[in-house]
Symmetry: C2
Subunit: 114 residues, 2 copies
């Protein structure tokens, strides 16, 4: 078993690199509260593998988030406060895990790297 | 007092957006272990403000990290394992805080947004 955290960026918003880093980090930090501490510790001690992916629309982001969440995977969706660059309420990113990469494949294997 | 977390990206490595998100998130997550829990909770409940900045060289990254760390600020420096894109051992990013923005100004106010 290899643990990875998946960070999925909404590529339809045209966020620049700094904005994407901020939103991806929001998601990465937020989801950790939904993962058991032992799993988080194991993942941290093994290099904290993160896989950063993209989707082409807000619908795709929300649907994928909902599917993974409904399946019981630990997920956190980020809604931007809209103070910079993009409209308030925009769904910018979500993160899932750390989870076993095999369990993640069903949801994320079709997505492209950001 | 307003809390913010600072994420500083080493812009000399030519990381693409996905790589920058991964390295920035590594830093963001790592430094939280060095901040007291009450401060982290307050910060999370107030929008988890993150400020993403850049430096132009590895030397600048390491020197700034060391200065902030020597002053007692909670900081985490990320060294990449080099599995993708960049050479193993590259210093990619560091994060500091959440800390009071006033305390941070001395170290980070001269830097440009990524």
């Amino acid at each position: 078993m290899e643990l990875a955290q998946y960070i999925i960026i909404n590529n339809s918003l045209g966020m620049d690199k700094g904005k994407a880093v901020a939103q991806g980090s929001h998601a990465s930090v937020s989801v950790l509260d939904k993962v058991d501490k032992a799993t988080v510790e194991t993942w941290k001690q093994n290099g904290m593998k993160k896989i950063v992916l993209k989707v082409a629309s807000t619908n795709e982001l929300v649907e994928l988030f909902q599917s993974a969440k409904d399946a019981g995977l630990p997920c956190a969706l980020i809604t931007d406060a809209g103070k910079t660059q993009i409209a308030s309420g925009s769904k910018t990113a979500f993160a899932c895990g750390p989870i076993d990469e095999e369990d993640a494949a069903k949801y994320f294997s079709e997505l492209k790297l950001l």
